[in-house]
Structures are given as structure tokens and as C-alpha cells.
Amino acid sequence: MSDRIFGVFGFLLAVFYIWQATQIELSFISDPFGPKAFPFMIGTVLAISSAIIVLKPDTEPEWPTFARLFEIGMATAVMIAYALFLKDYGFVACTAVAASYLSWRLGSNPVSAIIAGVLIAVGIYVIFHLVLGLSLARGPWGF
């Protein structure tokens, strides 16, 4: 069933992709092939392979329980939030929070998760910024 849904999704993606390809504006410089033809080829192969997946699905993968899916969703949210807040609060603070969260969810107890998070953040800061001179996001406190 998962494969069939995936195949349908792939097919819709192919339709959307080909439709978008028709929307590409042509410029006054052009070659005989143009910027649209290669995307059309890609879209066609995508549609065909999706159709085959719908018709001949593999065995059902083992999906995790809802709780585990929620876990993955939360981790994704934390990582996106990390990317968005990185410039506002600086590298060390954001990394400490995100790493602590991940470490906690991977099974550490809260206290050691926080210690691990802070150590990871400070460790990366020292190695990559202070020693190797990589530029990292600077927060309101200067790190």
C-alpha cells in the first residue's frame, strides 16, 4: 500500500514538474534543444517509473508506531527551529539546546543530555572556531 501511495505521489510530482517545465520562459538566445526538453525527458521517466511502482509494489515496509513518527516530526521541528534561530541567538546557545534535545530523545536522562549538549556545543566551537578559524553564527553575547 505504501508503495502505491508513493507511486501516485511520484506520478503527481511528474505531472507538476512537466507543467512547470512548460512554464519556463524562453529567452532570445537559444539552442536547438532549448531549456525545456531535458526536463520533459526527466518528467516522462519519472511518470513511467512511478506507474510501474503503482502496478508492482514491493512488500510493505515496517512503519514505526505513531509515537515514533511523532518523535521524528518533533526532531525535524527542532532542527528547523535551530536553523531559523541560529542567527538570532548565536551558534553555541542554539547548538547546546538542539544537541541536548536530540541526546535526550535518543535515550539519555535529562541531566546527562544537557551536559552532553553543552559539551558538544562548546567542543565544536573550540575546535572549529577557535582552533580552525571557521566562521560560525555570532549571537547577542558574542559567541
Binding site: 511502482i53 515496509p61 532542527m79
Partner: protein, 511 residues
């Protein structure tokens, strides 16, 4: 004798203090990365590329560092296979079959030593193979025009889908998803934006490093979150014992190593097959010819030597098409190609002519790295064993954060970080659905070149399609591509590692 003279020049490039130091660091880091469960050659190198890139190392030293990591990871993968029965990466899968029983019989040290020696022999002779075969391939590649290059790219995808994956439709789908991602951004030939939806960040296209680190490294973190691997290896640490194998054992296993080196190298050179296939073929073949007393699978040292020589030799063989043609055949070489492109080096025949110092410096570094790895792996193996004790609950957050640092370091853009997270989730879903990730990466990397060559061929011949099949070389490549894609469908799946069908493939490294 040109080749040997070039190689000598290569050694002159590689033998500086800085480069030796980088090779040493690379080998050390690589062995650790290979030994850690969940990290293997492709995602390990993927995480390190942006870092090597942002550190501003020139091309040759950066290459030396990262290929040392690649070879090191190939060595390191065996450590957790033997001691914990958990392959550190997919090529090391076959090593568990005889390596772990040896460890349980109290011969862990001997198994590690034999496999270290086998790795050395495999990699050493494969590097010689690379030295002699790559320049020959370059001569052929110089005859290629745009039409032949287009056919060659099709061939790479076709054999990757046909030989190395379980479901051709899914491999084809993965390849076109990658190619589709590559079309995002301003079209290089006419200057019109494609698929960028008015988003300024997308005009430059999606950086392949963002895609690679997301798909390979972050998706690994999600896999661990899903299974909550817990504390990993706490009390299972096995005693290593003596690390010098008896001479008799070495002599017994030498023929196995020799044969496996040859098989592994051939498997590595073929497009679409990688180190995993190399170790699989070597093991099964060795079992067929020398397992007379049924000792394979119960701790036969030859069963440890064969797959290790095979996978390290395949790792060297895989560099031949990657360097000479610019077409990688496996996940890890795809990552190495990404590294070259990030350093603004386009592999292929021209690389050998225009930047011989880069190519031969790299090859010399492989020889040096190999000897360092042998020296490092035999006496220091107990140090690496200790690395296995780091629980994943501390390791995985660090992996995720280092991935973010690397990508942020390249562009300083938080938009890229968000895209990387999206790729991470996508990688997880696709792995669950058993869609191979390597064709996606290959598509993202090669899409631009593939389209450029196709359009160049069309421009030369004024849009005449039949000119794609105009030369015998092109027809040969197309024929090989079709056979490589279709034949595995017909003759069943004899050529594919059966063991990889099991669920273990889901969480493992894509090479």
C-alpha cells in the same frame, strides 16, 4: 614508463610535511568513522567535505585528507563487524560472517590482524591497478564527444539501477529525482530561471553538498531516533587478545587475499557496483573454492581475509572510472566526486592532462595512507576498539551538529540549513520505502553535465536525434547500458548480494 615517472612526481607532491600530517589525520579520523556504528565511508566523507572546503585548504591537500578518510573508513568498518557483529558500514557486512565467530572463540585479535593485513593487500594492489588502468581509460575517454558522454552518463545510471539495487523502477525514479533537483536554478546556456518559483535562494540551484549531507548524514540520525538504538555497545566489549597472528594463519590466508583482490578490483571498476559487491563476490567465491571442511561461517580466517581484501580492493578500483571518466560507480565515489567538484576540479581525461599534480599526488597519497593505515591498525587497534564504546545517544547529536556547522560554513545561509533538514527527512522516508539514495546523489551531481552534453551534441548536429547514435563508441555504450539495466531483470538476481535483501540494508551505509 610515463606512468611511473608521473607517479614519482606524485610522490614529490605528496611527501611534504603538511601533506603527510593531513594523511595521518585523515587515516586516523577515517578509521574511527568506519568503526563507529552508523557512520561509514560515504556519510563520514560527506560530513567532512564542507569542513575541508571551508578551511580553505588547496585542492591537493584537501583531496589527500579526504581520500585518507575514505581508505581509513574502509579499514575501520571491520572493527565493529568482528567485535560486535554490527557492520560499521555495508561493505563490512560479509566480514561479520566469519569475523564474529572468531571473536567469540577468543581469537578477536587474530581476526583483526588478519583483516587488517587483508585490507592492506587489497588496497595496495588495487592502487597499482589504478595507476596502470586509469591512464589507459583516459586514452579511450579522449575519443569521447558530447554524444558519447551523454551515453556514458545514461550507462552509469542504468548499471547502478540494474546491478546494485533491488527494484529497477525505484532506482530509475531515484535517478530522475536527482536529475530533476539538478535542473533547479538558472539554466546555464540560455540564462532563464527554471523551477525556482520566484525564490531568489533557488536561482543558484541546490548545492549538492546540502543534498548529500542531508540524505546521507541527517537521515541516519532519524533512523536512530526511530529505533532509539539506546546505549549501543555497553557491556559487549570483547577481549581483543593477541594481535599478532601466527605465521601459519597468514600463509593460509594469503591465496584467499590474492584472489579476492582481483575480484574486488574488477567489481570496483565496473560502474554501478561498489565495495559491497566486491566483498560479497570475494566471500562467496572463496567459500566455493576453499571451503572443503564446512568451516566457513564458523570462524574461518579465510572468511575474514576474503571480504576485507575484496572490499578494500573494490574501493581502489572504484576510483578508476571516477578519476578517468568523471563517472562514479558507487555511493562513496559519488561523494568523492562531490568533493572534487566542490574544489572546482572536474575529473575526467582533461584532469590527467591539465592537473597531473593533483591526480598523481592523490594516488601517491593513497600508497602512503595505506602504509600508515597498516602501521596504525595493527598496534593501535585496541584504541579504536574503545571508540566503539561511545553510546549513540551522545554520538548522533554530535554528528547532526557537525553536519549543520559544515553546511553553514560554506554559505552562511540558514536557508540551506532548512533545505538540508528537508533532505534529511526525505532520505529517511525514501530509505523506509527502499528507494536507493545513491542514484539521487549521482543525479544531482551529474545532471548539469548530462544536460550540457546532450544539448551540445544537439547543437553540433542541429537538433538531429539520430546523431546520438552516430559512432560505434556511442552505440556500444548504449548497448552496454541497456544490457546492464535489463539483464538483471531477466537472469534473476544472481549478481546481487542476497544478504542485502534483509532488513539490515535499511539502516546501513549506502555503499
Amino acid at each position: 614508463m610515463d606512468t611511473l615517472a608521473s607517479l614519482a612526481d606524485g610522490f614529490a607532491v605528496a611527501l611534504t610535511w603538511q601533506n603527510l600530517m593531513l594523511a595521518l589525520i585523515g587515516c586516523f579520523l577515517g578509521t574511527i568513522i568506519g568503526a563507529l556504528p552508523g557512520l561509514g565511508p560515504s556519510n563520514g566523507v560527506a560530513i567532512l567535505i564542507p569542513l575541508a572546503f571551508t578551511l580553505g585548504l588547496p585542492a591537493t591537500p584537501a583531496l589527500i585528507l579526504l581520500t585518507s578518510v575514505y581508505y581509513g573508513a574502509m579499514y575501520g568498518g571491520r572493527i565493529s563487524s568482528i567485535l560486535l557483529n554490527i557492520p560499521g558500514d555495508e561493505p563490512a557486512l560479509m566480514t561479520t560472517l566469519d569475523g564474529h565467530p572468531m571473536a567469540k572463540a577468543g581469537k578477536a585479535g587474530e581476526a583483526l590482524a588478519i583483516s587488517g593485513l587483508a585490507s592492506f593487500i587489497g588496497a595496495f594492489f588495487a592502487t597499482w591497478g589504478l595507476v596502470f588502468l586509469a591512464p589507459q581509460l583516459v586514452k579511450v575517454a579522449l575519443l569521447f564527444g558530447p554524444a558519447e558522454y551523454f551515453a556514458l552518463f545514461v550507462l552509469a545510471f542504468a548499471t547502478l539501477g540494474g546491478i546494485a539495487s533491488r527494484n529497477q523502477a525505484k532506482a530509475a525514479l531515484a535517478a530522475v529525482i536527482g536529475l530533476g533537483i539538478a535542473t533547479i536554478g538558472v539554466d546555464g546556456q540560455t540564462g532563464v530561471p527554471r523551477f525556482s518559483f520566484g525564490e531568489v535562494h533557488l536561482y543558484d540551484g541546490i548545492d549538492f553538498l546540502v543534498a548529500i549531507v542531508g540524505l546521507f548524514a541527517l537521515s541516519e540520525v532519524f533512523i536512530f531516533l526511530e529505533h532509539r538504538a539506546g546505549s549501543g555497545a555497553d557491556d559487549k566489549a570483547v577481549k581483543v587478545g593477541r594481535i599478532v597472528p601466527p605465521w601459519k594463519m597468514v600463509r593460509e590466508t594469503l591465496p584467499a587475499m590474492g584472489r579476492s583482490t582481483i575480484f574486488g578490483f574488477i567489481a570496483g571498476v565496473l560502474p554501478g557496483a561498489g565495495a559491497s559487491l566486491g566483498s560479497f563476490i570475494s566471500y562467496t567465491f572463496e567459500k566455493r573454492i576453499s571451503d572443503r571442511k564446512g568451516t566457513f561461517g564458523k570462524g574461518d580466517p579465510r572468511g575474514v581475509a576474503a571480504p576485507e581484501a575484496g572490499n578494500n580492493s573494490a574501493a581502489g578500483g572504484a576510483l578508476v572510472p571516477m578519476l578517468a571518466l568523471g563517472v562514479p560507480g558507487s555511493g562513496t565515489t559519488a561523494v568523492l566526486l562531490a568533493m572534487l567538484l566542490a574544489l572546482n576540479i572536474t575529473p575526467g581525461p582533461l584532469l590527467f592532462q591539465q592537473n597531473p599534480d593533483v591526480v598523481w599526488g592523490l594516488i601517491a597519497a593513497l600508497f602512503i595512507g595505506n602504509i600508515m593505515l597498516l602501521a596504525m591498525n595493527l598496534p593501535l587497534v585496541s584504541l579504536f576498539v574503545r571508540v566503539l564504546l561511545i553510546p549513540t545517544r551522545y554520538l548522533m547529536p554530535a554528528v547532526a551538529m557537525i553536519s549543520f556547522v559544515g553546511i553553514y560554513g560554506i554559505s552562511g545561509s540558514t536557508f540551506d540549513l532548512v533545505v538540508m533538514v528537508i533532505f534529511g527527512v526525505m532520505g529517511w522516508v525514501l530509505r523506509k520505502l527502499d528507494v536507493p539514495l545513491v542514484p539521487i546523489i549521482l543525479g544531482v551531481l551529474l545532471g548539469d553535465q548530462m544536460e550540457k552534453n546532450l544539448r551540445r551534441a544537439m547543437t553540433i548536429h542541429d537538433g538531429d536525434w539520430t546523431m546520438l547514435f552516430n559512432s560505434w563508441l556511442a552505440i556500444g555504450l548504449w548497448a552496454f547500458a541497456i544490457v546492464g539495466f535489463v539483464l538483471p531483470l531477466i537472469v534473476g538476481r544472481y549478481f546481487r548480494p542476497k544478504i542485502a535483501d534483509e532488513a539490515i540494508a535499511e539502516g546501513s551505509d549506502p555503499d
